[in-house]
């Protein structure tokens, strides 16, 4: 597996031998790099019809990181309203973004079951850190996010007393200082 540094516009392969992956594009019959980084050849999946190897270029920085549909993001809840919650997206995958992106979690995307009986104020509070999945690019103002899976939801929240709460079930978190329980849509963390 050869690795070498390439810059945008460098020729990295031919369409007859390789397929263009991330960071590469095809023009006519040649594959060019579109990023600065290391060129890698990835072997194809055994069940795919096209058995050409994939050539891709991986950059070294958190390059041009934006939320994409299907990616898992971490954000902070800024506002909770009757039918939706506003979230500031802070990380995409495991990398932090340079500047935050706006996202919203709608009432029907909070959980997978009984979606019409969801009370937004019993699922999130302003200031909670949530793990969510990007559903789509949304509208001009915000990305659409969803927490409708076991491992998505609130990962960290502060109680009314100001302490970080401990999760006790998928709907409740308890404050270690005052013993009071608060309701949230909790994410199932760990195995």
């Amino acid at each position: 597996m050869t690795t070498e540094l390439v810059t945008p516009g460098d020729v990295i392969g031919k369409v007859s031998e390789l397929k263009a992956g991330k960071g590469a594009y095809v023009n006519d019959t040649t594959i060019y790099a579109s990023l600065t980084g290391t060129r890698r050849i990835v072997s194809p999946l055994p069940e795919s019809l096209d058995q050409r190897a994939i050539v891709e270029v991986t950059g070294h920085k958190a390059h041009a990181l934006i939320p994409e549909p299907g990616s898992v993001v971490i954000g902070r809840v800024t506002k909770v309203m009757a039918r939706m919650a506003s979230v500031d997206i802070l990380c995409v995958g495991s990398k932090a973004v340079y500047e935050k992106f706006p996202g919203i979690i709608r009432q029907q995307d909070v959980r997978a079951t009984e979606i019409d009986k969801v009370d937004m104020h019993l699922s999130y509070h302003a200031g909670d850190i949530v793990r969510a999945m990007v559903l789509s690019l949304g509208d001009a103002r915000a990305y659409y996010l969803s927490t409708a899976k076991n491992e998505l939801g609130v990962v960290s929240a502060e109680s009314a007393a100001g302490e970080t709460m401990v999760p006790i079930s998928w709907t409740e978190m308890q404050c270690p200082l005052s013993g009071q329980t608060e309701q949230r849509k909790v994410a199932k963390v760990g195995s």
Binding site: Y32, L35, H63, I66, Y98, F101, A140
Partner: protein, 256 residues
């Protein structure tokens, strides 16, 4: 910043050897000596560095003789000004001069059109589909204006975009040529630009060998233009090599 101390600054002077026809304007035919003593087909040494602005996603600093520019790229990020949804990314360019950039007091000549010209040069080379809904902001600042400002701005902006990790079809390089009387000079300085009869600026993608922008002003004859084009194409590919070396150096330096 990523320049090896003590390394000689490379230059991208083109050569006209190997052409079937002799150039029409020979060096001996001069009615003009260049203020910095260069030959007519000699370019200034090019100093390029990336990573000059640490708070930006990507940045580059270029020093071509007395022309010094710094370009920072922010993004892709949300833009408050963008009211409508868009499937492809947006590009926003802004070129400004410092008050001390030129030897004339105050603002000097107004270069408001440089922002839109930089936008035209860059929009052909950035792959906008890779960052939908977001905007890439390019801010260029001319610290000292010593001639061929726009060409240096374009080359430096392309280096900053590559440093920021924005997907592009290729790097772009820009070179300008001035026509004074019967002679053609590449990479003119401010004094030569002030008394030129015509100016020719070409922006091209060196690896793909495609031209993204061509700006011709003033009086030109057809053989003149052909020669200027050959000069620019050769200089552009050499400048492209210098830019690639700079990017590779900074990438390997940050890996260590």
């Amino acid at each position: 910043m990523a320049a090896k101390p003590g390394a000689a600054t490379p230059t991208y002077s083109p050569k006209l050897v190997g052409r079937s026809r002799l150039p029409i304007f020979k060096d001996s035919d001069l009615d003009w000596t260049r203020p910095d003593g260069r030959g007519f087909h000699q370019c200034r040494p090019a100093l390029l560095q990336t990573g000059a602005v640490s708070s930006a996603s990507g940045s580059a600093y270029a020093e071509f003789g007395n022309t010094k520019v710094i370009v920072s790229v922010f993004g892709p990020r949300e833009s408050k000004k963008a009211m409508t949804y868009s499937d492809v990314g947006r590009l926003n360019c802004n070129v400004s001069y410092t008050t001390f950039a030129s030897s004339t007091l105050g603002q000097g000549t107004d270069h408001k059109e440089y922002s839109s010209m930089l936008h035209q040069a860059l929009e052909g080379v950035i792959i906008m589909e890779t960052f939908p809904k977001t905007t890439v902001d390019v801010f260029a600042l001319v610290l000292e204006s010593g001639g061929s400002d726009l060409s240096v701005l374009i080359s430096c902006a392309s280096l900053a975009l590559a440093d920021a990790g924005i997907m592009m079809y290729d790097l772009i390089t820009a070179v300008s040529v001035s026509c004074i009387g019967k002679s053609l000079m590449i990479d003119p300085v401010t004094e030569e630009e002030g008394c030129e009869d015509g100016s020719f600026m070409m922006t091209c993608m060196p690896s793909r060998y495609e031209i993204t922008q061509l700006t011709i002003t003033g009086e030109w004859t057809t053989p003149n233009i052909n020669e200027a084009m050959q000069l620019c194409l050769d200089a552009c590919s050499k400048l492209g090599e210098i830019m690639r070396d700079c990017l590779k150096q900074s990438t390997s330096a940050s890996d260590e």
